[in-house]
Symmetry: C2
Subunit: 330 residues, 2 copies
């Protein structure tokens, strides 16, 4: 025999019907054990292997893959999210094709096209900072789609978010409760919905205690921990800030780097937990949500759709939790 | 027209030959601009989309995907490696299907089978701690295969490693040069080749200065930073160690956690760089190799094979570098 053996070859070798081989290969368990044994032997003898790439183009069959677009896998927040999605998908027999948009709309759009060409069964997407084309401009059929961490403009998609405004408000309020009055905001561009919401929460906490927001101590140009370190160093050198609210884990790391270089620490609370928060002494207090839970929900919503659920699109907002480790009252 | 439009439909709509549409769709640029414009219009009108899942089962076509098996995406070492591989593969038009073995041979074997069923064009694999089945037992054809970080038992595969023994020897020697005589080794199981080599390098450095290795201050049960923290806490409490060589980034973080809890730091050098190393004061000295370079080489070796290279299998050993930040002489 030449070429890859087919299910037909297995059926012939085992002396059973093609349908029985198909049921065996797809993991059905209510098969006559004698026939199952013969099929297993035939598969081993012939070296038969399923071809899921081929299966995915037959009606009713699927590729058993989920496409995932995040902003940057090198950011531990997104690698933790990806790890959780991958783990839950794998439990249900799905593999994840993950790729990074680097926050660029054009790259995001290319990846959406590429993943749809690949016939992924579902898509989980963190919308990028720079807006790409509208989803209404994407040629259907669009597979089941879940936005995670940030919403986007496709009403049929499920959405999973954290309570960004509420978390930022609680973190800022905690700093104010310790007598701070000049709390800096350090984060990424307000074009990112999470940043916009966290900034709104920060302002709401200031308003709650009658402090006017001061845009000169708000920095939204920190795309990396290095850039955040520069921003905090400038705030330390040129302003009278007396505390820092770091609006994501990159900003928190940047604040710690700037404190180290300046030889002094200010009270600090960050959004999202991060490894160095524990190593630092005192530990860095954070407001955070459960990333593993976010990944699990994203995988579940996608897999529910693939299992045929036609419920209304859902928007799930995960609660945040303030974890105090001492850095709020240095 | 019902169903998904085909290349034939596009050819008919544009009034050009099927071969021209095929060349256009596959990105060839030397096409008559007038015809290219008509094809682009037809693709837009019909909503045509390539089907790479279908393409991958035609002779000579490929799925344009690479399968990647790492041990754990939540470990920043592996997320950085994955990010680099993904980025270089994407530049060349390939997507990466990544999945974690969690160091389990059985899970690794299932993923190998699953990725081959998915008809990935190439496989990049970090062999797991617990050995799976031998590669000789995997039914051919096995796609181009690259082992990264750790070697395995398949002579046709390319292999990319770091100079683990040399790096560990240099790190330990540095601690000894500062007068330390009771240097603990804290790491993961010696069943992992990188750990075995780093342990050998550690012992070689001790021998170089005439110190007998003492297995009571060698801990190889630290699979996570938490477990490493427990191991270092015990060494601090029950032995006379005067320095720590942390054999991977998990062990380094664990050592910092134990130092914080014990209220005292010992001289420390870690293998592999990590974010908290910079935040800590003084910074944690590390011996490390270039992870982005390792990922780039892994992607390149795979893509070279896919481009038809039939050179002999290569084993590349990346050099390590000792980065001193102060923690070696606390």
């Amino acid at each position: 025999m030449t070429g890859n053996p087919t299910m037909n070859d297995v059926a012939r070798e085992a002396g059973v019907a093609l349908k029985t081989v198909s049921r065996f290969v797809n993991g059905e368990t209510n098969i006559n054990p004698v026939l199952a044994g013969r099929i297993a032997d035939a598969i081993s003898t012939l070296g038969y292997r399923r071809n899921l790439a081929a299966a995915s183009i037959r009606p009713g069959w699927t590729s058993k893959t989920i496409g995932l677009i995040i902003s940057d896998l090198a950011n531990p927040y997104y690698s933790a999210l990806t790890s959780a999605i991958e783990s839950f998908a794998r439990e249900r027999g799905y593999l994840v094709i993950s790729s990074s948009s680097d926050e660029l709309g054009t790259q995001h759009d290319r990846l959406v096209d590429r993943l749809m060409e690949q016939r992924v069964d579902g898509l989980i997407v963190v919308p990028p900072r720079d807006p790409g084309r509208p989803w209404s401009a994407v040629t259907p059929p669009i597979p089941p789609l879940v936005f995670v961490d940030r919403p986007a403009d496709f009403p049929q998609a499920d959405v999973i978010l954290a309570d960004n405004a509420g978390g930022a408000r609680a973190a800022t309020a905690e700093l104010l409760a310790h007598g701070r009055r000049r709390v800096a905001f350090v984060g990424d561009a307000l074009g990112i919905s999470t940043m916009r919401e966290r900034h709104a929460g920060y302002r709401a906490a200031l308003e709650d205690v009658g402090i006017a927001a001061d845009e000169t101590i708000v920095r939204t140009d920190a795309h990396s921990s290095r850039q955040a370190a520069v921003a905090v160093a400038e705030l330390l050198a040129k302003t009278d800030i007396d505390a820092v609210f770091a609006a994501n884990n990159r900003a928190s790391v940047g604040a710690l780097l700037a404190f180290r270089d300046a030889g002094r620490r200010l009270p600090l609370i960050g959004f999202d937990d991060f490894e160095a928060a524990l190593v630092s002494s005192p530990g860095v207090s954070v407001v955070s949500h459960d990333i593993v839970e976010m990944g699990r929900r994203a995988a579940e919503l996608t897999l529910d759709r693939l299992a045929g659920s036609d419920r209304e699109p859902a928007t799930i907002v995960l609660p945040t939790r303030l974890v105090l480790r001492g850095s709020e009252r240095i």
